[in-house]
Amino acid sequence: MEGTLATLVAFPQAGILGDNEEYHRAAQAHRITLTKLSSSARWASEAPRLIERLDPATHSLSYLYVLQALKSVNSYPLDDLLIKLTTFFTSFDARQIRYAPKAFTKLLAQPRLQDLFPASVAVELITTALLQLDPTGSVLTSHHTDLVRFAYMTNSIEPVLPIIEKSIVFYPGMKGSISTRLLSDPDLPPSGFMTVENDFTKPLQIKDILEHDLLRGLCFIQRRSWQQAFDALERVVTFPSRDSTNASKIMVEAHRKWVLVGLLLNGRAPVLPPLTSIGPRKVYEVTGKPYYSLAQAFEKGPAESFKAEYEVLPQTFWDEEKNFNLLKLVIEHYQKWQILNLRHVYSKISLEQIRTRTQSGQTAAPLGSALEIEILVKGMIEEGILQGEVVHPENGGPAYLVFSAAADDLTEEEFSRRMVGTAQRIKALGPVVKATNERLGSNKDYLKWLAQQKRREQQGQGSQGGAGEDAVEDEDLMTGIVAG
């Protein structure tokens, strides 16, 4: 057992941490050793003792294999196993785990962590683990899709937020994603190792990706983070399509919710972004009709026509489209948006005036008393959608609402804070751009196209006005770029 332990802690040696090539060789050798060890007869019986002697942060690779064995040993106490799993997933060294994708996947999935832990703990653990592997959160894997589906189904949304708030820009199965760099290179982008080829993920279908973003949208809807929900749904709505007549059912579903969320977010119907492909665009025009006319009435009023718009369709319609609860919120927000719009006209307005000028979305009539308005307005202020305060004058006059003017202009600090924030986020895209560039750099077709561009520039023709053959090449490779 001491001999085994010595082997286990032999990697990584302190001396090789800085040398990528050395590290790579040692890691590969160590993995082979571990595979051999794990098939030996004593392995399972020694595992409970071995695990106590290993540090998950330094000897992550060894720890992973031992833990793997413990999971299959039935006699090991469950509570201990859970503690070990938790320590491992929160502290492992991502650089080492790059070498054991299969074992890592197995540890997550067989049996599923979701079955061992309570749902919210499992979600949190997987989220932490995935983010540790890929701090940028830019690569989508089948672990992500499974995780988000599970989190939504079990309503464990809070713990999954850190991962769904990241913007995915890489997908499994990208051509040229096999990096020429070594796995041990600390600068290796996550898209370089979290690949199908490396067994970090199963190949994903279009359906999975659409569903993933739709689910992200639904999670944000649950959280009432309308902006994030809107953005996530928009990703589904604008999903690139080469089909000029049709759209996927998931896209249609997302589009309907997108319109409703847009209403909640901005008080008006959203406009399809220019990137929307032609086929889906046509489909939305038809499938989105009841939603658009509802939005129209929401925006323009009067309240009667808004009420008529949603009442003309039976509740079963909204139920079937799974939008009834969202619709209820839209109806609830109708009056709120009317009040919000008053801030463009008034700086101060009495509650009684608000009462006569706005109508409830449910009854299409003004609320019964100024007190009800006060409750509504105070609720809005608490929710943070309205900046202002309700004032009760000391002389006993009628109460009124003051819209704060400061909401529109920013202070110098606030401005610079937001500006710096954006700049940092753009800077943070640097590695992603670099990774994309690298990926393209190893793509034969792209290089051919680039060489042609260069040649043309040298001949002084500029990059425009290519001949027919180039056009074909361009189209093949740059669809995304040209469309964007």
Binding site: Y152, N155, S167, V169, F170, Y171, P172, M174, K175, G176, S177, I206, K207, E211, L214, L218, I221, Q222, R223, R224, F239, P240, R242, D243, S244, T245, N246, S248, K249, I250, L275, S277, G279, P280, D319, K322, N325, L329, V345, Y346, S347, K348, I349, Q353, D408, D409, L410, R418, M419, T422, A423, I426, V433, T436, R439, L477, T479, G480, I481, G484
Partner: protein, 455 residues
């Protein structure tokens, strides 16, 4: 209002007509003398249908006008109106004899002219064909068949041989188009009347006709600013006979002045209306328009509105202006309010009510409407009854736009990277010919109507 008259105007109201209860400031006889041709009848009929005070007089005059002409349909229409509005009037009976005679005569004349034209065509004499077409078209116009008139007028075009002919064709076509309210065609016809500077006399003579017709067409299309420019350019030295088949000199002043007031700022009004020598001549018979413009330029907005309100009834009886009066007045009003507020940062609602108040609508509502439409940059303080104007802060604007473009850049960058990756992974939607994407991808996926709990 007496019984039959009341009934008449109830009917007019139901048909969506505009009804003017006050008596106008003009004299009907003098007014109608300014015009020539078929527009006389149209104008009289409109006044008859709209003005309570002038109803019977105007209808009677229209009836006389119709009987002088050959258009039997007009006669029938006006008698019908008169019978409702004044059943006891001696004129309110069909003159069946005249009608029959006139219809036969019209028919014969049509046949005669058609035969004549056929003869000319056989002889291949261009000038005769042109004249034959013109005669026939004029006849059609006089009996009210405007489609045929338009058709035969345009058939004159291939046979024109002098500049005057060309101008004539244009005038005929424009006149018919104005009667048909075919606003889109008028600029095209007018454009064909230009001669490229080769015949300065003819061009000068037809200039006001072209400008007036263009102005009326643009007015009809709600292009107020362009219409104002057209009227302001008209040449007053040419006799109004040239264009009084569509509008009078007074009309040019009113249309031009009102539209300019509605669309131009004070500097433009000063330069293009008050200091415009040409337009001054038009303004002479309509001094109140000039006064209103002067008031506006001098910043006496309430006085300007007061003058205009005094004439609202008159303008509602104008054949082209009627439909636009309320829109034009509303624009002038809101411009006045905006201009009035410019030098102040804060004005009390009472002051505004005194300056601009109208009995129909409290000023607060009007201001709210203007702010919502974006005409006015201000906020109403409903508690202190104040209007606070908002000074545009260029710094804040710059900051907002900088933030917006930075955020947009970030979004775009991510979106492009994502699309490139999707393209590289071959994950774009591609249709299958057999069943389409709808089924292929749809499955029985449906998420998302859990009770929305958190907040």
């Amino acid at each position: 209002m007496a019984g039959p008259l009341l009934e008449f105007f109830t009917q007019m109201d139901n048909q969506g007509g505009i009804i003017v209860k006050d008596g106008p400031k003009f004299d009907l006889d003098l007014y109608i003398q300014n015009y020539r041709g078929r527009t006389k009848f149209d104008r009289l009929l409109l006044i008859g249908r709209s003005s309570v005070k002038l109803c019977v007089d105007a209808l009677r005059a229209a009836l006389a006008e119709a009987k002088r002409g050959r258009d039997t349909q007009r006669y029938r229409d006006v008698v019908e109106y008169l019978r409702i509005a004044a059943p006891n009037d001696p004129d309110a009976v069909y003159d069946q004899k005249w009608l029959d005679k006139q219809e036969i005569a019209n028919h014969e004349e049509t046949q005669r002219l058609l035969a004549e034209l056929k003869g000319y065509k056989n002889n291949l004499i261009k000038e005769s064909i042109r004249m034959g077409n013109e005669d026939l078209a004029k006849h059609y116009e006089s009996i009210g068949d405007l489609n045929a008139a338009s058709e035969y007028y345009s058939k004159m075009r291939p046979d024109v041989s002098t500049a005057k002919h060309l101008i004539d064709v244009g005038k005929h076509l424009v006149r018919v188009a104005v009667q048909r309210r075919d606003w889109n065609m008028i600029p095209a016809h007018v454009a064909k009347m230009t001669l490229g500077g080769q015949y300065p006399d003819e061009e000068r003579n037809s200039q006001p006709f072209q400008k007036v017709a263009t102005g009326i067409a643009l007015l009809g299309q709600d292009k107020y600013y362009e219409a104002a420019l057209a009227f302001l350019e008209a040449d007053p030295s040419v006799s109004s006979k040239v264009y009084n088949e569509i509008a009078s000199k007074n009309d040019v002043a009113v249309y031009g002045g009102l539209l300019a007031l509605a669309t131009m700022d004070r500097r433009e009004l000063q330069a293009m209306v008050l200091e415009n020598q040409n337009f001054r001549a038009f303004l002479e018979p309509e001094p109140h328009i000039r006064r209103a413009v002067t008031m506006f330029v001098n910043g006496r907005y309430a006085a300007c509105i007061e003058i205009l309100e005094g004439y609202r009834g008159d303008y509602l009886l104008d054949i082209y202006l009627q439909r636009h009066v309320s829109k034009i007045y509303a624009r002038i009003r809101s411009k006045c309010v905006v201009q009035y507020l410019i030098p102040f940062s804060c004005v009390s609602l009472d002051t505004l009510e005194k300056a601009f108040g109208s009995p129909e609508r409290p000023i607060e509502e009007e201001l709210a409407g203007m702010i919502e439409e974006g005409v006015l940059e201000a906020r109403i303080d409903g508690i202190e009854s104040l209007v606070n104007t908002i000074k545009v802060d260029p710094r804040a604007q710059m900051q907002a736009s900088a933030l917006a473009s930075a955020e947009n850049y970030e979004r775009q960058a991510i979106e492009r990277l994502r699309r490139m990756a999707l393209a590289a992974a071959d994950l774009e939607l591609v249709g299958t010919r057999k069943m389409g994407l709808h089924h292929q991808l749809g499955g029985d996926l449906a998420f998302g109507d859990q009770e929305i709990l958190m907040g």
